[in-house]
Amino acid sequence: MIKVTQLTKRYARTTAVDQISFEVAKGQIVGFLGPNGAGKTTTMRMLTCFLPPTSGTATVAGFDVLEQPLEVKRRIGYLPETPPIYPEMSTYEYLQFVGKLKGLSGADLSKRVDYACARCAIADMKSKLLGKLSKGYRQRVGLAQAIIHNPDVLILDEPTAGLDPKQINETRDLIKDLAGEHTIILSTHILPEVEQTCEQVVIINKGKLVATDSVRNLQARARGAESVLVEVAGRTGAFEPSMVMQKLERVAGVSRVLCKQQVDTRAVFEVESSKGSFVRGDVARAIVESGWDLNELRPAAMSLEEVFLQLTGTEAVTQPETPVEVQA
């Protein structure tokens, strides 16, 4: 559906996107991942014909973004980083306007407006002025605007940025829901989002393509070893983390034990084991039998986060303002 070859965007001094190539098959959800300023938005803008590439080509549904921009635009629904809304319009008027702009008219137009409203759960807000809507609703109106002409491809630039956790979940569900009908590219710098919503991931950093693979493969790539986090507390005052470490290292299958933090008579250890060996039961037994308390035992999050850090070599991936996932 989308084919990008050697796509490059150069500005006067900087190269925002440097020879990126990837392909997206029909019906896929692709996560476009990278730290802020990696070139995600620029790439998306080139795909939507907002910016022309300096060199390289991109085709959407077989149409080149430079040669046949109108055909490309007809097949794309685009939600920019800030929803492009006119505050003085009501939701209904706005969707009517965008629908007409995308070539809809008559009964078809009102049908699609109703459909988009229902789909994005904004039917109650139809007569409200967009300027008075909350951020979450604006985002949904932005999504409704993107799907109004039933495009083949949806391009969503950070669709969950600035929403609260509940809204984030709703938006993700909505996107997953839409995946059946559209090919979706969504950009984000929040890693769990990609793990939860996308099948395929394209990682870029500083304008360069770092990896493109399925989420599953990328996770597997990182999971050479498995590890669990164990929190142990001493029952009596005497508590020596080194003793716990010795004990844990003796458990069969454990390859390495690290003391991650220690507070008073409690300590957290990361226990690594070779792939496929289930050590959790043995670890728990070893601790309890030695007379310590086992406060917590959970798998260490071997997630895309690590893959991402490995691949991009950056430390601060998740920005402070990114919504923290509420652990269920």
Partner: protein, 255 residues
């Protein structure tokens, strides 16, 4: 053409949903009403004077009221045209909605024409306001309507040209104030370029004076429809819109 109309409707909506259009209409009505009242007062005073002195002074409504008022109107334009055009592109660029327009299946030129057309239509509403004043002249006197019509056409063409320039300037910046101020400056300069012809006859002065939008309005004000002057304004309109199209394109290459 359909797309032009869609954009135009949207622009007209935002003029008339916000207080912008009404405030412009009220202010324009007040200012022009005052001018009209003044011109009328002067006319009445002069005609009484000439009667008392026994001179047979041919007083003509067209000559005494309509012509100076149309001339005033072109000056009032200078203040109102920047107010009409300054938001056209600058606002969309600031709020990011330009991205919606630019990624929709419409041509740049359709967006530009739609916006310019909306500005022209709003200006036509202002002109309609002035017609209310002139209607009184027709009720209580009998001025010649043909020169008035030609005069209106001239003012309308002049406004169209300045609006095209304003549209272009608005497409250059994100800041409405800058767009408005620069448009005002450019319009004023284009207006006073003609002054050089008063003392200088060199080639450059003639070119400068030719470029002045005020030089070409004179024939219209006299009620003479001169194709040369009409073509001048149409050319400026084309130039303004063409430059806007170029500016939109460069926006894509630069931003």
């Amino acid at each position: 053409m359909r797309n032009v109309w869609i954009i135009c409707q949207k622009e007209l909506r935002s003029y008339f949903v916000s207080p912008v259009a009404y405030i412009l209409l009220i202010m324009f009505g007040l200012i022009f009403g005052y001018f009209f009242w003044n011109a009328l007062g002067a006319f009445v005073f002069e005609s009484i004077q000439s009667q008392m002195s026994g001179r047979s002074f041919p007083m003509n409504l067209n000559e005494w009221i309509i012509r100076p008022l149309l001339s005033n109107l072109t000056v009032v334009n200078l203040f109102f045209i920047p107010l009409i055009t300054m938001r056209l592109f600058a606002e969309e660029k600031r709020t990011g909605t330009i991205e919606l327009l630019a990624t929709s299946p419409v041509r740049d030129i359709e967006i530009i024409l739609g916006k310019w057309l909306a500005a022209v239509l709003l200006y036509a509403c202002l002109l309609l306001f002035t017609a209310v004043n002139f209607a009184f002249l027709f009720k209580y006197g009998n001025p010649d309507w043909k020169p008035l019509l030609v005069g209106y056409l001239g003012v309308f063409l002049l406004a169209g040209a300045l609006l095209a320039i304003g549209t272009f300037i608005s497409s250059l910046t994100k800041n409405q104030i800058i767009a408005g101020a620069v448009t005002f400056g450019v319009c004023l300069l284009l207006y006073v370029f003609g002054w050089v012809s008063g003392y200088e006859t060199a080639a450059w002065a003639r070119v400068l004076s030719y470029l002045s939008v005020a030089t070409h309005i004179e024939s219209f004000e006299k009620g003479v429809l001169d194709s040369k002057d009409a073509i001048f304004y149409v050319t400026v309109i084309f130039l303004g819109l063409f430059l806007t199209a170029r500016s939109m394109e460069s926006l894509r290459w630069r931003s």
